[in-house]
Amino acid sequence: MKLVITDLHVTVETEDGPKEILKGVTLTINEGETHAIMGPNGSGKSTLAYSIAGHPKYTITGGSVTLGDQDVLAMSVDERARAGLFLAMQYPVEVPGVSVSNFLRTAKTAIDGEAPKLRTWVKDVNAALQQLNLDPTFGTRNVNEGFSGGEKKRHEIAQLELLDPQVAVLDETDSGLDIDALKVVSEGVNRFRAREGKGVLLITHYTRILRYIEPDFVHVFVDGKVAESGGKELADALEANGYDKYLNPASA
């Protein structure tokens, strides 16, 4: 399914009234494509991710988002997930008292509309955890409670593989990971990409993760919109020159 974002405008409520963060974002992610969105802090990258997922903090003031022929903006948060969207969060939230295995089973049941077959499900969960170097006892721990930064991100990617959405939005999944964890997480994302027709929107501040997850397209995100689009060579240019050219055009 194709994710199409057209002229998306988003505001957030501040003490001084509503502030526009996204100022007309247009982006199409076709089936099988991986798009990297790179940008400096405060450019609105995460706002884009959370707006697609439907976080109540953000108000859509214009534009559209469609997944296949479905109007994403008309759906509730959980409907979006069931329609095939997934957001791997930069700061996954603790849910005290709810075990990972209970959480995963509940989510899978919600997404599929029926409970997964117990035997294959347990096998699938164990395999997914193992591939991400997560201990088998991980399932008994409470969701994100006491997880290290790396465990949180690996848990997000385990969910990605198990819930099997159509389009995954990865919000700074690479932040705070050491090189080994980054490789493990990237391998998980690449396994997902290898499946038929999956779209990925990879949001990152650094070019580092693009060494492991090769994007088809790179977009530079500045001040709430796409400033420049290109192939992966654009990431190489950013690696060499940083964001100065976009932030301070006079000095470039």
Binding site: P56, D78, V93, V95, A107
Partner: protein, 393 residues
Amino acid sequence: MTVTESVRSALEQDKVESHLNPVGSFDVADHPVPTGREEIWRFTPLKRLKGLHADAEFMPSATSCTWNTPAGVHIEGVSGEEARTLRGISGLVPNTRHAARILAEVPATLLIDVPADTEVSEPVVVDLHGEDVAVTEAGHVAMRFGAHSKAIVVLNHTGSSTVAAVVEIVVGDGADVTVVSIQDWADDAVHLAHHQALVGRDATYKHAAISFGGDLVRMDANVTYDGPGGSAELLGLYFADAGQHIEHRIFADHNAPHTKSNAIYKGALQGDKAHTVWVGNVLIRKVAEGIETYEENRNLVLTDGCRADSIPNLEIETGEIEGAGHASATARFDDEQLFYLQSRGISEKEAQRLVVHGFFNDLIRKVGVPSIEERLLSTVEAELAKNVLKELF
């Protein structure tokens, strides 16, 4: 001089000027009828107590009382002189009128005796089922656990009663004891209870107060120590619906060195005029060096129109301690938690259900009585069905 003697002599000199520790008396006349303005009564709607706090007649009981008797346990109702000798065995000197009246006036005592060195393999379950809410009554329970014994006692309250009760618990040196009191009353019950435990040297005591039903439930769970090294875990779980008043108070009186107390009470509230009160009193006396205490109360407010009062009181008379802390939090659903769960396809109602179960799960596990775990989980589920999950059913 033995350590115990030195503790006793220290205690005698240890006059504490503390509102946590008013001077008690066995004489009913020393306890005026409360007006509701007293610190210890200010949250309790006295009118709904049907006189239990004052001078309601203690009528012949309309509450059936049955129990199992696992091997090694002796349980019987005793009266007369034998009952009288059990009044105050926990060191309780009443500081309320109803406690003084119960010790003085109630003719019988339910005695639960576990001899020293006895390990009771299954929980003792005492079922108290109220048959007539119009009967005002009172009861006294005495539990004696000998040195190095190990046992679990569950007091299971159901049906309709208007009852005041004093439960005294003596935990012998080195014993390992769990007392669970479940208030699963019908909607009209009124229950005013005082549980007083004396924790022996190096003993481990766990008390769990679990309140779901009743029009008004007030339970004071107090602990003192009979020597150094004792440890008390005070747990509470409550779920208040529209119009219910559920009040839990604890008092950990660290009157001996190297003792521990750890209290965790968690509650959920839903519906108009659901009211919960938690007052956590901890006193660290001068003699209580090297003690460790922590108390925590968390309330989850599920709907509008509820009120949760949460008051930790910590009085510290010596700085020579391992640690003392408290935490209190009353909040609605965390939007970020719900968003996280919903972003995984889980509906809002189902997400709320997960969060509430999660809120109570760790506590239910801490109670540590497998035979009632399942029941507590399903009671939480049933409570949720009344409100949060109404549309799902």
